[in-house]
Symmetry: C2
Subunit: 323 residues, 2 copies
């Protein structure tokens, strides 16, 4: 939540000209984006977001992310559209950082999602998956099963500094997922981080999706399992079955799950909970207490994981067997 890199008025005016975006009217550094620096830019041609990519982003991945946004826009998915400069490029450089300009998407993210929002998110996720089918580029999921093992090795016994017994829980779960993780489910482009702060609404109408910097190719139903973890638990970590039913119903209104996806869903939900538990645990241990960005509490995902471990059938998520 910070502006890591300053941009001068002269440099930005020059950039805006290169992009054919008219005259620079104003720009403000915005307190969003944990990893990158973002400016909201008004020009005589409209409102845009300028993103400067900081250290944690691998710039080799940017063509995939930018290409995906262009593809999704072409397919009618509402998300930011990268602007091409006069050389036809979407990536540029400013203040010593790789940077991109995308169209600004109106909408607010919902702090307390209701059932109606969950339905809309499920539907938008299915729309994204369908539109992604024709996207030709491929990026493997660095935060899949192998990546989880890597993070666990980095955590080691230190996980217990967060909560006693956490290292044992993670090792138990990884051993289970090594055996149970499905390998033949339908795959495609997934968002992989569809949390409430990445979905915009105007009133109750979903206006678009943002932040595709974890997007990759993986099992589609796993993406739905991530969204279920993100949207269908209350702040006290209680599972909300009504919201889950709304989410999966919204999703299946456009893309019904296969029988294999439905059966695998409890395992996918466990994997999704473990994925965020692991990265949050790592951030928790590696963020100094005076950091600008407060790390998310990993315990919320310990609780989700424990819930999923007790689930005995996909029906508990609102996924009924096919008639």
């Amino acid at each position: 939540m910070a502006v890591y890199t300053e941009v001068t008025d002269d440099d930005l005016a020059h950039l805006i000209a290169e992009y054919g975006l008219g005259e620079l009217m104003s720009y403000k550094g915005i307190a969003e984006g944990v990893e990158n620096t973002n400016y909201m830019v008004h020009t005589s041609k409209g409102t845009f977001i300028l993103t400067l990519y900081e250290r944690r982003v691998n710039t080799a991945d940017l063509p995939y992310f930018m290409g995906l946004l262009e593809h999704l826009n072409k397919e009618g998915v509402s998300c930011p559209l990268p602007v091409r400069n006069r050389n036809g490029e979407v990536l540029t450089e400013i203040s010593g950082r790789t940077a991109a300009i995308v169209t600004f998407l109106e909408g607010v993210w919902v702090r307390r999602p209701k059932t109606v929002h969950c339905h809309a998110v499920g539907r938008a996720l299915a729309e994204l998956h369908l539109a992604g089918k024709s996207f030709p580029m491929c990026r493997s999921n660095a935060l899949g099963l192998a990546g989880w093992h890597d993070i666990n090795e980095r955590l080691g016994a230190k996980a217990d500094e967060i909560a006693p017994g956490l290292a044992t829980l993670i090792n138990y779960e990884l051993a289970y997922l090594d055996r149970a993780w499905p390998k033949t489910l339908p795959t495609g482009v997934i968002h992989a981080d569809l949390f409430p702060d990445n979905v915009f609404f105007i009133g109750e109408k979903l206006s678009g999706l943002i932040d595709f910097y974890f997007a990759c190719n993986d099992a589609s139903a796993y993406d739905l399992a991530i969204a279920l973890n993100a949207w269908c638990f209350e702040t006290d970590c209680a599972f909300n079955a009504t919201k889950a039913r709304a989410l999966v119903t919204g999703y299946q209104s456009l893309r019904p799950l296969t029988a294999a996806e439905r059966l695998a869903f409890p395992v996918l939900a466990r994997g999704a909970a473990l994925r965020f538990l692991l990265t949050r645990a790592l951030d928790w241990l590696h963020t100094d207490r005076n950091a600008l960005v407060k790390p998310h509490d990993p315990i919320a995902y310990v609780r989700r994981l424990r819930f999923h471990q007790e689930v005995t059938s996909p029906g508990e998520y609102g996924l009924e067997p096919a008639a």
Copy 2:
């Protein structure tokens, strides 16, 4: 440079409705404002700034600041206009903070001001002083000569931690100003903080002034002396006589200084330099090293003060005696 207080979507949508500003489209916390939290808000009726006043602002002063902005707008000065809610009030409450909504002013602040900008700033400052004449409210300058003594007492010998000999320099200067400070110059509303980041330009055209939270009633020419310190020294603290001449010429194109103001100008310039030296020194000593907001370097104002101490005539600032 931070968002100190979070605002939820529900609370803001409710507030927007109370202000009759249509539908909430988006809002972003902006990384500006050292003392307060600011959000840029898009509604179906336009773009606005929502400010939440944090601890350092005395809310008893807000009616003066808000009334001044309304008055200046009425007089044709380009600055943010407070929006009144359905009860006719400009101040409200959100997230436990006193808050106000003002219209958004397009423009960027100029990181490297040129002579043309200095002329425009001088002119705009005179415009502000003329428009302020008919403003009925009054606020004394807490950062006048008496206030400087107060800050010096808080600094004490600690000033020497910033630079050896600084305490002596400050005491010498305060003793001089006690004798030389003019008491009968024309007074009126002054901005009192017209630094480059508070003046917006679109291209070379000045689009407006912002941040009136130091505004008060004091000697008009002192405000020009503050602007001279802020605009007419290079980053290496060298005085730029061309920019100074442009600033005072722009000012006098609308409001010629009286003979007394011109003669007093070198003293006013010393006082203005000392005022920022003192507050910066205090911030420097009281800001912990991990703070979100980096304090400004007081030494830049030591250098300005030393320059002004050597000045022997108002002509050095471009202020020629009347013909």
